[in-house]
Symmetry: C2
Subunit: 205 residues, 2 copies
């Protein structure tokens, strides 16, 4: 029989809090008791536009994406979240706005639901978590700024190379049209860029 | 003769810390002693690409903008910062990366230089500042996410209307080409949008 404690310790979020956020076993046990988990089937929505988002989601297994619809009803991918990533509609969770975005499971997915109460408790309990959480926010801002820079000024090729660097293991898990949507280019441009890169790599070997 | 204290209290940053961040006079006096100010002439750079950015800049008077150059050497405006705004190259100031961006004075400008030490001291001294600073970060993320959404999926008109909402007093202070650059559209598109909006407003009155 597996005890609750050892079950918890085998969870990816436990490992993440320990290895990445630098929390001690004791600290993790003190703050994790009320954490909820959820399973989302491939193709299902975890959040829909207009709803209030009460949680950040930590992906333990599977793959989520968030997207929005423009005025013409066209989808634009905002973010992908494979294992060990967080995904959230931040305006909704921090400012109680109705959500602008959708969060959908690209694969069967298991998430941990992270509420404001968890963050508060972890901040109070663990100085390491507080520093980590602060760094995480700044890093998030850094990535968003980088994305704005890419959308404003980079070629399709540079955007695609940056995508590969950020999400190295997603190329085979995500349909091409979603990658093109994330990059803000047409599927045709993505296809052209991929052919050109394959050609360059072929020549350089 | 004006004492140092009353000079400080007449400063816009003092008012900002008191009114917006919710700090008490006593807390502000305790943390502000070492703050530095700087004057930048119109057209001069406060930060150049490749430098390390050691400060966030709070604009007390005047107007700054940050921009980057793409591979073809074309400028892309990242942000404007009129009075009571902060501007910074965040990757550089928080992660010690060489700056990717330039910060330039559009008008003669006076700034307060906010170092990491000030933030730490203010966080320790004032619970109100700590909450405010946290909210500021989340709000920054919300605005960046909104900008990404606009760049991915919005028409030139929607982008322009969102600009007016965000920077209501900048239309007459900033050259049109810089606004177009910020919006990620051509100056011709901006000119067309402005004409169409003027026409709509004319008809609706």
């Amino acid at each position: 029989m597996i005890s609750e404690k050892s079950q918890l310790e085998s969870a990816p979020f436990y490992t993440y809090l320990k290895k990445t956020a630098g929390m001690s076993d004791d600290e993790i046990l003190r703050v994790s008791a009320d954490l909820k988990r959820s399973k989302i089937e491939k193709g299902s929505l975890l959040l829909a536009k207009g709803a209030i988002c009460n949680y950040s989601f930590f992906v333990e297994k599977g793959l989520l994406r968030s997207y929005m619809l423009d005025e013409a009803g066209k989808e634009h991918v905002i973010q992908f979240a494979p294992e060990n990533w967080f995904i959230v509609d931040r305006s909704s969770v921090y400012f109680n706005d109705a959500s602008e975005s959708y969060i959908e499971a690209i694969e069967d997915t298991e998430v941990v639901l992270i509420g404001e109460d968890f963050i508060c408790k972890a901040n109070e309990t663990s100085p390491a978590f507080r520093r980590f959480n602060d760094k995480l926010l700044h890093n998030h801002i850094r990535h968003m700024q980088n994305r704005i820079n890419l959308l404003l000024g980079a070629t399709a090729e540079v955007r695609y190379l940056s995508f590969i660097e950020m999400y190295p293991d997603l190329l085979l898990r995500v349909p091409q049209w979603m990658i093109a949507s994330y990059l803000g280019i047409t599927p045709e441009s993505l296809s052209r860029v991929r052919k050109e890169l394959a050609h360059k790599n072929f020549k350089s070997t």
